[in-house]
Symmetry: D2
Subunit: 377 residues, 4 copies
């Protein structure tokens, strides 16, 4: 089993933090390597960025794809790390060519794009992973596994949240690039806070429980003067089987970095997880709480999760291993199709979660505009 | 300064846990003593309970009040520990006689009763404290003090919650007394979860910030079959000055005991407090979080709070001292009026908070019945 | 069962913090009341302090004892809250008169005094409790109960510690009273840090495990210039059954308040407890850690400990309840002898622990003076 | 700047966990790649392991070195991941050839070997890093930086510890390979617990404070029957400038995985760090504690440490990034010498720490054999 060969689209500029994050994550297991990239939108900058990383450079993704199709370049999958508005086109093009994709979230700009991308992936049966990094944490995977096997009984209520504080002032007016495109409808779509981090909370709520959100009542706020889109996002949702979801996200919580988490209450028990303490999962089923700790070691986990663990007991896997787990799942999907002997990939988010997330944000925006009227997702 | 003499109404039966809690709390400072009581609704049981505690017994509160008015009994204040439906009558009677009252929450059964009680207390200028015990925690008092002096700037958003799990099954059908009256509309009013613990979250949100909630959009659920009233309570509220409140309470979160807390986000900073870790207050105003700890000792606190502290640095004050602080505030109010030299009482909840809480629950019930339509409080 | 009548010796001055602490603790259960006291060494001050508290005053403990013996005053027990050098005489006098004693720690100034006091108590079979407050925490009681019933197997190693920082500078030269007597050999004995807080760690190690320390190798340091006695105390001890104890205490750990705790390692498991998080006990016997929390409620505890609990699940008992538990144990001992129907008192520290503590400190001082040579306790 | 080319010695077998750990860590930054290896002691197995990883294989390190010297293979550095007894020979050979080395700890089997290796490295001025992974945690680096710039004043006392439980029973008799060689004097040297994990605590104490330990009084225990070497290791040390060190390590603490940490007490403040919560550093300098959190983001750290950070604020760097930091330091040392523009490498442990660690363990073993007599290091 040689290393998988990976291409990257976007992610190469000095301001593009996440390209390097994916580069590190895909390198972590020494079973994948980055070999080519169309790393920036400006062709010359793209070539220079590739040279700096020592990989084959392309001026744009179309050129890279052309070389794949002509056989000059062999890629096992590509990872799309462009801004939101530039996910759809390259992801679709590579999927159409039968090349698997690991794509940053949110999947697209609009529901229509998302649905189209999903259709393409399904038509060609091409593996696709949506980079909801937090679902790569073994404790989130364990949470999903526990709910799936009925450990918590029937789910009654889910709370999921994401608190940040970096947009508590009008950073977009001070030349901050990240703040600039996120608060700009032209580049970010109909929702800032909801699309950027509300979708994380949405995925946490639905992916862990396996339940859909059917309709929503939402209250979006824009606290910072001069801003057009929401910087605060609050949704009450009706889920399958009579469950209720409370989903909140905010960007004005000063001092909060990435305070995301989930609480799930079922008829047999409850669980609780915090991204900033990702190594632990709190489960309550009786008088005493059960705190599961990744440091307990691989022997503690079910095989489906243990296959992903890398460190000895008493140590933590954290951010890079979590993201690497999504690449790992895609790698194992790809190798399975080649009949290589690899573990079963875990069900990390894919096109369905991408479509659902886009629909959820759209429904929340609509409901909030109608004084919180219940709106179908 | 002799000890204040205290009378108790209710609280004396074997199942009435909170009478003894107040007995302990009012005894903690050795400046107040319980001397008389009408401790149970059944006259003979009331007399027996008083004898067991070694205090002067009365068959009912009317008899105790009569002795006060005739001068046979001298009471500095009374504490009302009856079930919800029996707060109003004795509290009103003693207030009318000019005797201060410390009353269990929720203040009354209906908004009308609450408004009447408030009118009586104000007409006679009689001190009244509503026993929202958690406001007696020094860290909650510090939170209120910090917001009041502008440390967090203008408040934008408040989250307050109360998660319990003891009513996740139909305990009321198994002879559990506490579950019985709380889920019975005749004895508990229009809301179970909202009235019992939603009001704690409501008081936390409004008392700490000093902001009112003007209108609400609510979603109440009844998860346990056969139950009439809510066992899950979710409210989005519009506060003064454009702030938003997210208030949730539930009784179906298995394994959760008294997981109540508050998060406040302002234009200059944020704070966070958890009842089950009541000794700490998390404040965020810059890059690093500030964790204040009661063990830091009295010198850390502003004088208005330090006056309440009892233990040396490195130790915790917890539940009994918190409740004792409410008695302490009432005691100091009483002594101040006698021109005794005591510290200024802190602004613990009184009749205004009681009225506001009743109105809040009523509005939430109404909104939930109208599919979450925004309803004035 | 009327209230027990309690007398206090010492504890009344404005600087004497602990008198009020005991006053609060003994009042907490409403089954004991302070009725008399010889509260200060100076007779007039003693009378004034008693008047302020509204109790019967005495100019000295001898006068209070005389009234007890003549039948003019009835006391069920006395609590001794004087400085270390003034524990022995009153404790002995009351024990000789057959009156039970709850005495502050360390028990005496010298080993000889301690042994004498123990002999008197045993000769008369008079109940005596040594106020090692931390043993009153339910989680420490649970730790002792678990070890006693073999849950951890045979004990191999114990670590106990107590870190404080308040004596990191020469406070005794700045008029600080507490620092003054504690660093003065005439008033505190042969050891400052060891006697004051090393004994807490010693009691934790031996009381929880039920094992004695047979010989010690010690390293005492005096870090602050001008100080005669130790302000840092480190001992390796050989215990019964081949176990090793590591006992450290320091007063120069800046910022540490009362960071005391214990770790116990046995052949079947381990446990860990921290005074500043007294509500929890960490137990490790398998892959996952077990964290016991007092908030789990009385039903979680064995009956022998549940009898002491006062608050509903989800709340903490802390400092005052812990000290009150020692008074409770003494009360129940006293009532049992009167054939009243009370729970069995828990085995809180008494004269034996007092003697052992004095011997331990003496041996540590001797060993440290001999370059750490192993010295019998 | 192309990628550095790295060779590995040892680390390739199915039981050799740490080869893959180094492989991951050196790959994390995409600026180094593993290109060659003599991965196992048995030549054919060595070649097979290399083939599996897709790197150039060698039957033994001598052959790999020969190719380096002949110019057939270009290596920028090698990493030595063999068992303890096989560190010395290859490390020395590569250092003599002028090729930098990153070597697993403990550095050698004997003090003499350690001194020899240090002499060779210094004579040739060849970079050498000793893989004390925990010193790669940014919070440990911050601790060292704070002490160095005097934030804690003069250091008075240091506590460092390492608690494990995996050897609480005689695993070596059940065919456990790791337990086998660690408890075997022929393969592990004169100390098991002290050499394996006591050295981690030793490095923490001396590296963070910059103080040497001059002499020791030790108590080593062997709790598990049939074992020859220590499984419990307790040392009191005299440090430079009158400071005292308390260093403990144990392998019989059931349930403890890698509970290592350090407390430092100085004349101006204290600090505290725990490996299993490596993302935080507790500093105490005034009334309130300061908790530094890696999630505060790079802007919080001094430049010398910020240069090492990889994740956005609100996330953790943990085990792999910590080990990668040691590789990073070696990389930057190498590139600096080539006048490439890289940050200054942090002073991670090298040959001096390796020699000191070997001497420390030897002195502890000697002292323990002499009833704890103080022994020069």
């Amino acid at each position: 089993m040689g290393k998988l060969r990976v291409g990257m689209i976007g992610g190469g500029g000095p301001g593009s933090f996440f390209g390097m994050v994916h580069h590190r994550a895909l390198s972590l297991d020494a079973s994948r390597q980055l070999v080519a990239g169309a790393l920036r939108s400006e062709p010359q900058a793209a070539m220079a960025a590739a040279e700096e990383w020592g990989i084959t450079g392309y001026p744009d993704y179309e050129a890279m794809l052309a070389d794949c199709q002509s056989g000059k370049l062999q890629l096992d999958y590509v990872t799309v790390v462009t801004p939101n508005y530039a996910h759809y086109a390259p992801a679709k093009a590579f999927l159409q060519a039968g090349i698997p994709v690991l794509c940053e979230k949110p999947m697209t700009m609009t529901v229509a794009e998302a649905e189209d991308l999903a259709a393409v992936a399904k038509a060609g049966d091409v593996p696709f992973i949506l980079a909801h990094t937090y679902t790569g944490h073994p404790m989130m995977m364990l949470a999903k596994a526990m709910v799936a096997q009925g450990d918590l009984g029937q789910i009654r209520k889910v709370e999921a949240w994401y608190n940040q504080g970096w947009l508590a002032t009008a950073l977009e007016g001070e030349g901050n690039q990240q703040a600039g495109w996120r608060t700009d409808p032209a580049r970010t779509g109909i929702s800032n806070c909801g699309g950027d981090i509300g979708t994380h909370a949405f995925v946490a709520a639905t992916w862990v429980t396996g339940l859909s959100i059917r309709r929503v009542s939402a209250r979006l706020n824009t606290f910072v003067e001069g801003r057009v889109l929401d910087d605060d996002f609050n949704v009450i949702g009706e889920m399958d089987d009579g469950a209720t979801a409370i989903i909140t996200a905010t960007q004005i919580a000063i001092g909060y970095k990435n305070d995301s988490g989930i609480r799930v209450f079922g008829t047999k028990g409850s669980l609780e997880w915090y991204q900033e303490r990702a190594e632990s999962l709190l489960v309550r089923r009786g008088v005493c709480d059960e705190t599961y700790w990744i440091g307990a070691g691989a022997s503690f986990f079910p095989d489906s999760i243990a296959a992903y663990l890398r460190v000895p007991a008493g140590h933590h896997e954290d951010f890079f291993p979590a993201l690497a787990n999504l690449h790992q799942s895609l790698e194992w999907s790809i190798r399975k199709r080649r009949n290589e002997n690899v573990p079963s990939p875990f069900a990390h988010p894919g096109v369905d979660e991408g479509v659902a997330g886009m629909r959820f944000v759209a429904a929340a925006v609509e409901s909030s505009g109608k004084e919180g009227a219940w709106t179908a997702v």
